[in-house]
Symmetry: C2
Subunit: 321 residues, 2 copies
């Protein structure tokens, strides 16, 4: 693989489209000067922005598209309306043909998953792709299933069966059984596996709670001049806290289990956040993750086929962040 990673961008995706995608691309280009972009979207909008960003323009090729997949399109609608002609479809298509190494979109998660699955096809042994945050550089990560209790008897049949299979399978992971919602923030394990519905609810509930605590803190600090004075003196600490909690530094979920790398950015992120999603796509490409996952899946499938009948993983529904 060339070291110059070629990244296809769905410029029209997300809540803010080009206004976030192109500034994000520019930030990523500063970090990785040798990357190249294939930009899909309305060429008038793109070219107007590139005029003010000569460095990004020099690293990019623009491909005009007329159709935009809307954030509230059903996956089936998006496939019907957007097939071959939408910015989202086209960005994935160049990954399929090999003209790009990876694609990044902040668009409609369900539509992106449907198109990516349709165009790139699942790897052998995979029925549904998953969306994941990526943990790189660990030999035997601690893995657990999200459940409503840590005891073996807790939970619905899906998670109990999955746990049983993982216990029996002896995979090259350290399987820790079940964890609960509060273990996500506690960092009890490296990887928490969950279905898309529960995962979305877990992430957004956590996000909401963190925002509420921040609001309570601000309100409490403003209620007297003496606490405002204290807060001013401790302002360095609050700056550290803000940086620590900034979700833009870890934006991006990668679709696992497809023949090609597609990264989903949070739809409402800003340029800095979108740049993080591009970083992730670059890292996945440089680490040759698609081929490594294909090889791992082949090994895992062999192990699992010895322990239980195939079950369908529950990972189709969109997972936040």
């Amino acid at each position: 693989m060339s070291s110059s990673v070629r990244i296809a961008l769905d410029v029209m995706g997300g809540d803010h489209g080009a206004d976030v995608v192109l500034p994000g691309a520019e930030i990523a280009l500063i970090r990785h000067p040798d990357i190249r972009f294939l930009l899909f979207g309305d060429e008038k909008i793109i070219n107007a922005q590139l005029a003010a960003r000569p460095r990004l323009a020099a690293a990019s090729q623009v491909f005009h598209t007329d159709v935009v997949v809307r954030m509230d399109d059903k996956p089936s609608q998006a496939l019907r309306r957007g097939r071959r002609v939408s910015s989202m479809w086209r960005a994935i298509d160049v990954v399929r043909t090999g003209e790009a190494d990876c694609a990044v979109s902040a668009g409609n998660t369900g539509a992106l998953m449907a198109m990516a699955k349709f165009q790139l096809r699942p790897l052998d042994g995979i029925q549904r792709a998953a969306i994941a945050a990526v943990v790189l550089g660990m030999k035997t990560p601690l893995v657990a299933l999200l459940n409503i209790g840590t005891e073996e008897v807790k939970g619905n049949e899906h998670v109990k069966l999955a746990a049983q299979m993982l216990r029996d399978a002896n995979l090259p992971i350290q399987f820790e059984g079940f964890v609960e919602g509060d273990d996500i923030s506690a960092g009890t394990v490296d990887v928490v596996v969950t279905d898309g519905f529960s995962g979305n609810i877990a992430l957004k509930s956590a996000e909401g709670a963190a925002r509420l605590v921040a609001y309570y803190l601000q309100t409490a600090l403003k209620r007297s001049w003496i606490s405002m004075l204290g807060a001013a003196i401790a302002s360095g600490a609050f700056k550290v806290l803000r940086a620590k909690m900034d979700p833009r530094t870890s934006n991006g979920g990668v679709f696992l289990g497809l023949n090609g790398t597609v990264v989903k950015s949070h739809g409402g992120t800003d340029g800095l956040g979108f740049a993080s999603a591009i970083d992730l796509a670059i890292e996945m490409t440089r680490q040759d993750m698609t081929n490594r996952i294909a090889a791992d899946i082949a090994g895992v499938a062999a192990i699992l086929s010895r322990t239980a009948p195939a079950v369908e993983p529950q990972a189709e529904a969109p997972v936040g962040p």
Copy 2:
């Protein structure tokens, strides 16, 4: 109903049993001097504690039980082992016979639900009981279903069907459709309805995130003497924040839809938290909620039967707090 509410307590329930239940009962007794307790559990343990709490002893009757439902018993095991002889069973049984007005337990949620359903029976028109935080004093509460997006197309079939039925049914609530995980903390609506699995995960994820932010804040404030000075000056604000976030002030989930009032306390709470669960049971009793819910259910069942075939609500699994 007599104004002197009679409360049955499962003294052996929860992570700490009598060490939390009896101090909690004593706090509740200070708040409501006319309440009376029926205490179920190991009489040696109970009497030893009551010797040091004469006021509580005077307001209590002790009933010895030998069997304790364990926190990791399956509901079916608990019913087998604990039927008629466990502190949990006996506390519910006196609600059934009318000797007590309500029961409170910090024990195993699944077992408590199974026993409560078995002994008290669901109200007419209810297939499964739900566990709820209670919103009193609202004429037309804003109600929404927890989902992974607010658009009508989002989510699994259960939530979509439930939303359709609620939209069509014209109930005496203001139905707001779907909310997402972060709306729970944002307080977008008064009541968020969810299945037990997702609800447990949402609450625990939020709890974990709040704890993490608090930890980050403490760490950030300790990193230099100047921020420690600022924190000391602003200490009043941090005290306010701590009180605001104290989960013990709103402990207790009530089982809705049964012929009798049973309140589930958080298993790991302390005396103050257990007292909040007792407060809730008292409030439910004084407001005659069981009869009011029965009357409402009869009305709602009539409305729903006109709009769609009965579906089974998904509320059996334990919901935190």
